[in-house]
Amino acid sequence: RKQKDNDTASLSTPSSPDALPAAAASPRAPPARASRRVASPGPATARAAPMGRGGARDGAAAAPPWHSLPDEVLEHAFSFLPAAADRGAAAAVCHGWLGAERRSRRRLAVANCYAAAPRDAVDRFPSVRAAEVKGKPHFADFGLVPPAWGAEAAPWVAAAADGWPLLEELSFKRMVVTDECLEMIASSFRNFQVLRLVSCEGFSTAGLAAITEGCRNLRELDLQENYIEDCSSHWLSYFPESFTSLETLNFSCLEGEVNFAVLERLVSRCRNLKTLKLNNAIPLDKVASLLRKAPQLVELGTGKFSAEYHSDLFAKLEAAFAGCKSLRRLSGAWDAVPDYLPAFYCVCEGLTSLNLSYATVRGPELIKFISRCKNLQQLWVMDLIEDHGLAVVAGSCSKLQELRVFPSDPFGAGQVLLTERGLVDVSASCPMLESVLYFCGQMTNEALITIAKNRPNFTCFRLCILEPRTPDYVTRESLDAGFSAIVESCKGLRRLSVSGLLTDLVFKSIGANGNCLEMLSIAFAGNSDLGLHYILSGCKTLKKLEIRDCPFGNKPLLANAAKLETMRSLWMSSCSLTLGACRQLAEKMPRLTVEIMNDPGRTCPVESLPDDSPVETLYVYRTIAGPRSDTPDYVQIV
């Protein structure tokens, strides 16, 4: 009896009918989510056997050998696999399973648009109904990637239009989506239902008009933090009067005006509308009248929340919100007059998510409001809440799972509004807290060690001390000890961002203890190549590594070249890399694309430069598509 290695896509079949394909134990599947429902032997398969082509088998016969299960049976079994990683593991069992899995896959997530060619993805998974594609590297969010870098959605839309006519959902993140793309989407997929664009650019309200006019079955139009050019086309008016299927409408990032009467009629007739996120152009009194039309809303994003205080507007708001019994998620640009906040008190108890990260409201009214939100799971807020506000959160929001605190004055005089105290309090009192993004002015090792001890259940810990290389403000030491405590204690940590004064030693700890770590962000840290070597030689599950302004050089990169193929991507900017090492890396690792980016002002071809030329930005990613052909002149592929 031969033992099959789970991971190999084996051509030969298991020799014994009892050999359980151990797909569920594949190391690629995250342990906590490994499915245990992949076909187990015995009665279940005997019951399933009469389905499909094997109809001649009667129920009382012995269970069929694994390799001759009809595709329909396999596809049905695979439909229970919740995670793409599990489906990938199942596909690796044998050729038969590979075929059945890929032909029946309905959801495809392409985390790097350059990792595979769009046509290949469409050919490989012909039945996809929902696709998500991500483009630019994460640091593009902070202006580190100049314009026209690439990540065009057009090839993906074209391939999808060709090969996935039944496509229902499309999601793009950090990509360039043009009006032509939107027009093609509107005209190519007769059952198109969900469009989600996150941090994209390149389109205008004219493209939106094509969507609203052409997608008769649209359920979700979700525009998050895109840069949309306003062509003053009345895109909202293009929804036909007969159109009623909308469930999600989010245009919070749109700058321009919308026709309010049209919006109101749309909201009135879409009885299934659950999520409505307005933009800044909609004033408060209009929000009230929309709520009266849509009391079934689950998620609301308010528009401009500043208005002079009128007692009748207050009463209107209060009445409108009182009718919204299902409201669970609230967000908005609250340059709020704090006097209006009590109008919302009736929804506080039901809220699970509160996003005030655009809100400059502060003071006791804000804190009183949050303290009434006893069931809050997700809180995004500005540092205007201050330590004492977070202390109140700690005492009131015992179900808190995710906290994000943003800086209100990122470039300012360094007036410290928020210290480590706030985070210590919240992590001490909120037992379910597992995800944190925290911008603050100061930190100590003691605080981090306390936090680590209180909250070993962190899955995401991102701490940004605003001033680079800030040490422990009490001891003046580096924050190595604090962050080491975090990674040692939080065994399930998947995402980590470090900041403050850090030496190579913290990376030794991260490398050794970050056994679930998938994404790591490092800035202004470390003292030598050793730091990077610790990371690349440890961190077994690392997928994305982004580094800026660290003294890391060529050696650890070349010594750990093979590691890069196990990762999705590596970003290194303003480090100590030279061209020669990048050339060596590219030569050694043909399945990586090694991209060099220099100042857009300089366009001399990379071939002419000597090996010791400094490299300002390196972006490396694995790909089965070969080098991309759409690089701008400031990007060179080595």
Binding site: F139, D141, F142, G143, L144, P146, P147, A148, S199, E225, C253, E255, S357, F406, P407, S408, D409, P410, F411, G412, A413, G414, F439, C464, L466, E467, P468, R469, T470, P471, S478, S497, L501, T503, D504, S521, A523, G526, N527, S528, D529, L530, H533, R548, D549, C550, P551, G553, K555, P556, L558, A559, S574, C575, D599, P600, G601, R602, P614, E616
Partner: protein, 164 residues
Amino acid sequence: MELELGLAPPNDAGSCGKRRSAEAFGVKKPTLPLFLRDDDDDGDHGNGEDDTGDARDCEISMGNKRKRLVGWPPVKSAHRPRSNSHVKVKMEGVPIGRKVDLSRHASYHQLHHTLRLMFPSSTSHHGDPYAVTYEEGDGDWMLVGDVPWEDTVMSAKRLKILLV
């Protein structure tokens, strides 16, 4: 491949890794400094690292304000404090002006990109070189690019694109 790593940085006896990285891009720097080194906070770094005398790019004293680095702190432009930063943009020879939201742009590169889209070369200048200028609070017209991007966002009242 053998990796030799000691605790000291590879090619230097005594200076820290930071200076190595400084040397790495001290050469061939373009005229527009993309970031500034924060050399005034030596007092905060108790580890004996020698920061002084390391200035390469221009150091601009900004009083109490934090020095501006590109992309730092890592907040998305949507989360940055929004002033009403739509400014008028006029181009020499083009009758109709545009408006651009400076706070939606994270860098000079992004601004130039937007301006190229707004004023494509077909309109008047046919690809001729141009200069982007801005009007400051006291009425002076300045060339964009000399000061950190964030300062321009704060002080620019309107833009004018001149043919060179």
